[in-house]
Subunit: 367 residues, 4 copies
């Protein structure tokens, strides 16, 4: 199968690097354009990017010449790791020009016709792409966002519990420093210290969870009627956002029922067959002191959410901790899996894998 | 004024060391006996203690010979930093033998006639000492405890708000590693990681806050009728426990009223004149990203509680963060201040400072 | 090909866990016995081991029952992660009983007839096994050690330079905390701190490097005549020992010659074909601020040594930094690769892979 | 005694803040002007400075209005914490205009007529001020620098050993992150990691130590003929630079002689009487695992150098570790103590404390 060419917007930054790392050896997509700031344009990727992940960038990417943000883009599929301001118009322009744009930027995330897609949670929201195209007069283009990296473990862990009637959420996050990009937080702030505030995230926790857990009625999203009280804090951890969650469930299920729900839950086909999908999106850890960021963030190659410590909450009924890798499943990895779902759903004109192809593709990264 | 001799039980451990450090240059008390395990007994303190605080132990303490746990104790005042099991009977035996014992151990903390004393919060609970002496037939002896180090910033910050009718509390702590003693937590668990569980602390948060905020009716404590949901986590911070607090207040005061309460609140006389007392027990920090453990734990020489981020909570009404130094105000420093209050209240037979003495004593440690 | 059964001595400890992790999916060996202390014996591995690596132990290992240290051992090949005292006699007993024992313990490392084997550096020292068997009257048994984890990057990086006449070494290490096992160093010692001393390691740096770089004369090892001044320090890093090396080379080669040596150096056949062998044992990093522990320790799946910052030293002539993963290549991974070399060299009676088998085996762990 | 007005250049940065913190309650000097960038000018200090030290800026400083870098300066004494580029001309201009400028910037440090002053080490270099004034036609103005913060513990610990004939030095530093200012190093680089390179510092170690240990011949400095091989690394420690030092001493004294030298060494009068001077500049720590940054950096209120682990080096003869607080004694604290020496030496026209005043002044900060 011929691979689809993809472009990375904001390729030299922290999330851009994660896109490049996760797309190495991808069975369907290959990075053929890297796009950066004017300062980077014209240099090779190796020269332009201060690589902050392990090892070095893949050799074939290192040799690519970085394009400027307003240079023409050739690839049908575009992943965006742009900063917010740069993202606002450029992402919409590229979609209007016929590109399928999967973005990790928050800029256009709350536009009513942009799905905030997390396949296992709200795969059906992909239908918004039809609305988007009709409303905006786009043909092959589309703009699909993924959520804030702290909302992600919250909605993923709650998805199997929605049937009990979710009413209120009290959230206290302990977020990794990679969530702030690079250089992001000063080391002078993060050694022997925590910061009890993360700009903007408490608002996003509320707004984005209501949208993501909402219902696509064929025209737009009916947001979930949900009371959310969020507190976001930053801790000296490289990767992995942990959220302490208290939840109110109308039906009041037994704790064991919830454990069963988590242990058996899978998304409907074809989601579990997507190349980046973990076999099970959730794992419940029995040890009383888990999940822990360093030990559990890589579960399912960074694509699983780990849950632990389910117990009664005397105020809201239930409480537990959930953890996801914030720059893999909470950012670049989610965008990639979104693009995989778009492909198998026929939304990428230039690339339509036969069912036989994707249904049998093994997870492409070794465990 | 002649200083009162004091003994430190568990003098070589982490909290024992903090007692020794805080009592250096104390205007009323001087450490004259250091008591340790059988392994330490007979050695000089310098030999027996692996000093983990800054610098080295004070020279006069370093030269003392460590006594065994069951050796006779001479000092009228005893501070206990014993491990739980060792504390249970030894503390009661010493009190029965006529010593005033101020303990940081949790062993006897919840006995109905043992006050869980935090002077600014429940100074009147000191009256339990009379009950204790009457009931147990003690004359000069007494046993007074201080609370768990994580409960401490919670009750301190809530004290001025009790008048509004406190009903429910949702607490998520981010606790420093020194709370687990030495060696305590492995470095393999605490670098680039957090542990979402602290054994026993969630239960203590509920039980101890109800007792501390209760009413001494002249005979025993009427505990406060309070719903508490606590989650305790451990973060890679040396000292300083931060608690994310959501609180329900019956009267629903304006946020500004709460700020005023915090800024102006002082304990009744003679508490603010005690040598270890900060001028104001609380400080509210205006910066949106404070309190932070490393930057705020030393406020008031480790005896103040720092508060920040007061805002509305859509579930319980109010939320904010509070921080205290867990091994100073949350442990040894609180025991010492408790002993000061006992002294000025006439509960230490061997030592009764004239009011003129204590009312004018300056805070003995430089800012 | 039928896999060879192996036993892990000290299976529940930190290095024991690393053996289990690295042997998962090994093409030649499979863990069939896990051996621990009397406290662990009789429990399942899942119950007995407090797993400190990422995720959880492999399911098939988790279900094994832990044997006691003096229980009979069935597996022909034994990996030892025993503490020093336990290792002294048990390892020799097992070798005498016919087992091939590859040990990471330091207990028997300096015995004259025990090779201190690092295949790329001194593969020929494997001949000591014949001496050992002859001298001790062993037939199928053998005892092979790997070096201290801090010596390892030093000798690996110097191997290609021996031809220039190595005379003197000045070494200052910055060692990861995992080198001290679990629980090892207290978090109270390792946050916002370094410890300028590692018990025993400075002596080992000198003695072990002289032995490893020595010449096997057919009977014993002529140690290299080498002056070593070592300083060992501990830094708050999870894995990856970095050593700042100054070296005196008799011939005084140009810096570029050394770079060429490092970039092209490979061990003789069959070493590069061993399942655990990296294609190249060394990588020289051009960036001026590398190698870094977190970013480079996983190179070659933890089996490569990364070098950087080669420049002139006004005292000894040359200086540079070298880094290896201390619990992979510096411990369990080296023992495993040693066993692979023993197998292809005919020293494991029960298991002799045909050349066609091992010459074509791909590295069994994905990059 | 009326206090001398001082101005702080670069007052809002990390070192500027340390100047302000250390000058609070200074017996001779009071901060009356704070000078920053154009971006800060016109705001109050509280608004302009993102305070990164503990607690908050002193209230009287918080209320000062920040002046722009080219605004006229009123105070006779100026402390400079300017970035290198800004320092070059501004410091010389202010000195030419009659101000005594004590700078922590490296910009003008190596000018032949600018003393690199560390009172206990080279107090006599203060005589360069006369040369400077004569040569440049200055009357009351002067420019005095302090050294790089990593050189400082090296020269301080070597000063009492110069009599043995110091020939060669091999230095490997483990430097705290505060040495890079704020925001300085990214937290993404410094958690679970070290950086084996500090831009520019290896060169400074050589050049500045030769100048500081040189001899003032009445006209200029005869630099010490010293071979220095320096390697500088960055570790995840907030404050406190540790240097692993190997030294060659011509006379080959016994280790005990060196210990005696360190334990008894004091600078000549009037240096030990200066307000910021520690009673003894050096302390030798007997414990084999000291000095440690977090536990020893505050010794002598950050003004002492701690030494440990003296032992034989098979290459250079002697080795040991030395530690100083890099932003106190290694930066702002040194500039302040330099100014104190200038004052008592009659180099500050506007402020000449009587000997009776300074000889009896107690150290102004509590221990």
């Amino acid at each position: 199968m011929r691979k689809l060419d993809v472009a990375i917007l904001g390729a030299t930054g922290a999330v851009g690097q994660r896109f490049i790392q996760l797309l190495e050896n991808h069975p369907w997509f290959r990075v053929s354009e890297v796009i950066g700031s004017h300062r980077s344009a014209g240099k090779t990727y190796a020269e332009a990017a201060h690589w902050i992940l392990n090892d070095s960038p893949p050799a074939n990417i290192a040799a690519l010449t970085v394009k400027a943000l307003d240079d023409p883009v050739r690839s049908p599929l575009v992943f965006s790791a742009l900063p917010k301001e740069a993202a606002i118009t450029r992402e919409l322009d590229l979609a209007a020009a016929g590109h399928v744009v999967c973005t990790n930027a928050s800029a256009n995330r709350m536009l009513p016709d942009v799905p905030l897609l997390l396949p296992e949670v709200n795969g059906k929201h992909i239908g918004l792409v039809d609305i988007q195209r009709r409303k905006r007069g786009w043909t092959s283009g589309a703009l699909i966002a993924n959520s804030n990296c702290t909302v992600m473990p919250v909605v993923m862990s709650l998805k199997p519990l929605l049937k009990y009637g979710l009413r209120r959420l009290h959230l206290v996050s302990e977020q990794a420093i990679s969530g702030a990009g690079y250089p992001g937080l000063s080391s002078m702030d993060m050694i022997d210290n925590i910061i009890p505030y993360v700009p903007g995230d408490e608002q996003k926790m509320a707004k984005e969870s209501r949208k993501m857990l909402g219902y696509f009625n064929g025209e737009d999203i009916d947001t979930l009627d949900l009371v959310v009280s969020a507190t976001c804090t930053r801790v000296p951890v490289i990767d992995g956002h942990l959220v302490n969650i208290s939840a109110e469930l109308e039906e009041g299920p037994a704790l064991n029922s919830i454990l069963d729900d988590w242990r058996t839950w899978q998304a409907p086909d074809p989601i579990p067959s997507l190349p980046s999908a973990p076999a099970f999106p959730l794992q419940y850890l029995e040890q009383i002191d888990r999940p822990q960021p360093r030990r559990d963030r890589e579960a399912g190659r960074g694509m699983m959410t780990s849950i632990g410590r389910l117990r009664a909450c005397p105020i809201l009924g239930y409480k537990y901790a959930a953890l996801s890798h914030n720059t893999v499943r909470g950012a670049a990895g989610c965008s990639i899996m979104n693009a995989e779902l778009l492909a198998v759903s026929g939304y990428i004109e230039a690339f339509q894998p036969a069912e036989s192809a994707y249904a049998t593709v093994a997870n492409f990264r070794a465990p």
